[in-house]
């Protein structure tokens, strides 16, 4: 609690957005996270130009070559260039992550807000529905839906999206309930604000931090789940490249060609880690209470989400 001395040297008044940006930029981990994410997105977008080889062309004489100048990350058991497959695979992984995030956002947030704000019967109905979905392990739900609709990347996205909605929905509901019971919401109602305004302007703005943090987790989970489902042969179908699919095939050559599994593993790890750093940075930047007076290089750890 800082008591602002009225005659203290006044820093120029900055808008909330500017301050939030400053906080984010001052967070080294978050900035490197976003740099890595942007680089990965660029690689995915410009794959046809960036990849040195066609990721599906088989060159049996060159199979399982170790990293060299010709093949920077070596080749797989069909002689396909690992780097090229990695770059093309980013398309699948990032797209799956992004679509699942949008899916979870589009359904989870409204459901959670409605349940948390309206409470009572609406809450009961929506949450029992969410519970029903939550009883299935997400991967099993994915296997079931893909089994039902056929092994295809689109079905994987649908399955992962459905699995993430109740998780986000529950978090949004809990945060909404906590905020709705705050005096400032009562005060806002006493100022004549209607429910729509209260929910969209006041409640939502207060629960952005947990939502953003959860979305980064959803993104990571989707990337990993896509990898897992492809690993099981349910997602991306050969010969299409995907990080998970490639990892699954690499396991058979772990001893003689370790670069084969190291490359996709490292890609997944880097992707998930950077998105988590971005999430942490966003969480701190979105909460004015955790702001520091001056942006500093050291990532400021605010209150928990």
């Amino acid at each position: 609690m800082t008591v602002v001395a009225p005659d203290a040297a006044e820093p120029p008044a900055l808008s909330g957005m500017t301050m939030a940006m400053r906080q984010f930029v001052g967070n080294r981990a978050a900035v490197s996270g976003i740099a890595v994410m942007l680089a990965m997105c660029a690689a995915a977008a410009f794959a046809p130009w960036l990849a040195p080889y066609d990721p599906t062309v088989i060159d049996l004489p060159a199979k399982l070559s170790p990293p060299s100048l010709a093949y920077p990350l070596g080749t797989d058991h069909f002689g396909r260039d690992v780097l090229s497959r990695l770059i093309w695979g980013a398309r699948v992984s990032l797209m799956v992550g992004l679509i699942v995030v949008v899916f979870a956002l589009a359904f989870g947030v409204p459901i959670g807000l409605a349940a948390g704000y309206l409470a009572g019967r609406v809450d009961n109905l929506l949450m029992r529905l969410m519970d029903a979905f939550l009883t299935f392990p997400p991967l099993l739900l994915g296997v079931a839906i893909v089994g039902l609709l056929g092994p295809d990347i689109h079905n994987v996205v649908i399955a992962l999206g459905i699995a993430q909605v109740p998780v986000l929905g529950r978090i949004v509901r809990g945060s909404t309930m906590a905020v709705t019971n705050e005096t400032y919401i009562l005060a806002t109602r006493a100022l004549g604000a209607g429910s729509t305004r209260i929910v969209t302007r006041h409640v939502l703005r207060n629960i952005l931090s947990p939502i953003v943090v959860q979305l980064t987790i959803v993104f990571s989970a989707a990337v990993i789940a896509e990898a897992s489902l492809s690993f099981l042969g349910l997602g991306t179908q050969p010969p299409q490249p995907s990080w998970g699919r490639d990892l699954s095939e690499a396991r058979r050559y772990m001893a003689e060609a370790p670069w084969l599994f190291l490359a996709p593993t490292f890609a997944i790890m880097l992707c998930v880690m950077s998105i988590n750093f971005v999430g942490d940075g966003l969480r701190d930047a979105l909460d004015p209470r955790s702001w520091r007076g001056q942006p500093v290089a050291d990532p400021a750890r605010g209150q928990g989400a």
């Binding site: 609690m1 909330g16 400032y184 006493a190 100022l191 004549g192």
Partner: protein, 328 residues
């Protein structure tokens, strides 16, 4: 002409233990420009009475009344849309805890201008100008710069000033101050009271002042209603009530107020706890704690009766006994 007339207001909460009668048949009126105090201990129904006026009682509360009219509007029949117009534009509220009454993630300016723009239809610039005037009015220095501040950058007293500015932003005719100074320390409390006193005089608005600080009520209010277990047990002009308390509970309340001229004396207290309102006894709710009760208290429920000009009390205890005061 009374600004606000409330007749037989009841606010009840169905709970697992039974029906909680938080407000149990309360009637009062507030005239234009008048300051009415509500006193009573925690849980006596003061705040719920105030929230009932704005129909802001939390679920599953139910409000009934024989009449509840504010400046010609029937508050019971009003639609949610009417009520939204009424809140702030006609009736402003300042809550007890300034640390929690402001949205922590929105700037002070945003919270002020949002109300101004919505209710008064001001443009962004006009609203900002008015917001600066309002912050000036409540004594916040460098108001223009403070608009970009967040609530956590303000002290408790400053936040309460902001709350007052917001509550008064649309020139309401009635201000409800629900324990507006309770959460503040004594010196800040004195400043806020002084500020409110000045504003009440300058803006000529009616005020419902809810407090358990009898001293503040005596300073600020024209009339006072003493609440106990959801009912008004005594009401009247402030001087009259303090000089001649006519309900055993009021006598006890006054006796338990610290006084500078009695330093060294043990502070008297009212033994026991407020009653469980789920099980009305049909007798005076204060009876179990009352040290002044008479035979009739155990036979019938006391109804409010005049004990002086505009002075009502619902108590059977004989005046003589009341004057002797609470047994120590």
């Amino acid at each position: 002409m009374s600004l606000l007339v409330v007749e037989n207001l009841r606010t009840e909460f169905p709970t697992g233990r039974g029906l909680v009668r938080a407000v149990d048949g309360v009637s009062f009126r507030v005239d234009a420009g008048e300051v009415l105090g509500f006193v009573g201990e925690s849980g006596s129904g003061k705040s719920i009475t105030a929230l009932s006026l704005l129909r802001l009682v939390p679920k599953p509360g139910r409000i009934t009344a024989d009449g509840m009219r504010f400046a010609g509007t029937d508050l019971l029949a009003a639609t949610e849309r009417d009520l939204r117009q009424l809140r702030t534009r006609q009736i402003g509220v300042v809550f007890q805890d300034p640390l929690r009454s402001l949205n922590p993630v929105l700037t002070i300016g945003r919270q002020l201008t949002e109300t101004l723009r919505r209710h008064l239809g001001l443009s962004g610039n006009e609203a900002r100008k008015r917001a600066v005037e309002l912050l000036d009015m409540v004594g916040i220095p460098l108001a223009a710069k403070r608009l970009a501040s967040y609530p956590h950058e303000f002290s408790g007293g400053m936040r309460q000033r902001v709350m007052i500015a917001i509550a008064l932003s649309c020139n309401p005719r009635l201000l409800i101050a629900d324990e507006a100074t309770t959460a503040l320390d004594v010196t800040v409390q004195a400043q806020i009271v002084e500020l409110l006193r000045t504003l009440i005089r300058e803006l000529d608005i009616a005020v419902i002042w809810i407090s358990h600080d009898l001293g503040l009520v005596a300073q600020l209010c024209d009339r006072v209603s003493v609440m106990y277990a959801g009912r008004i047990v005594e009401s009247g002009p402030v001087r009259q009530v303090f000089r001649q308390p006519s309900h055993a509970y009021t006598v006890g309340l006054i006796a338990s107020t610290p006084r500078l001229d009695r330093v060294g004396h043990r502070l008297s207290t009212i033994e026991g706890l407020p009653p469980d309102t789920t099980r009305p006894t049909g007798l005076c709710a204060f009876l179990p704690r009352c040290g002044l009760s008479v035979e009739r208290c155990r036979q019938a429920h006391p109804e409010p009766r005049p004990v002086g000009p505009d002075h009502l009390a619902a108590c059977f205890a004989h005046e003589g006994r009341l004057r002797e005061g609470f047994p120590q």
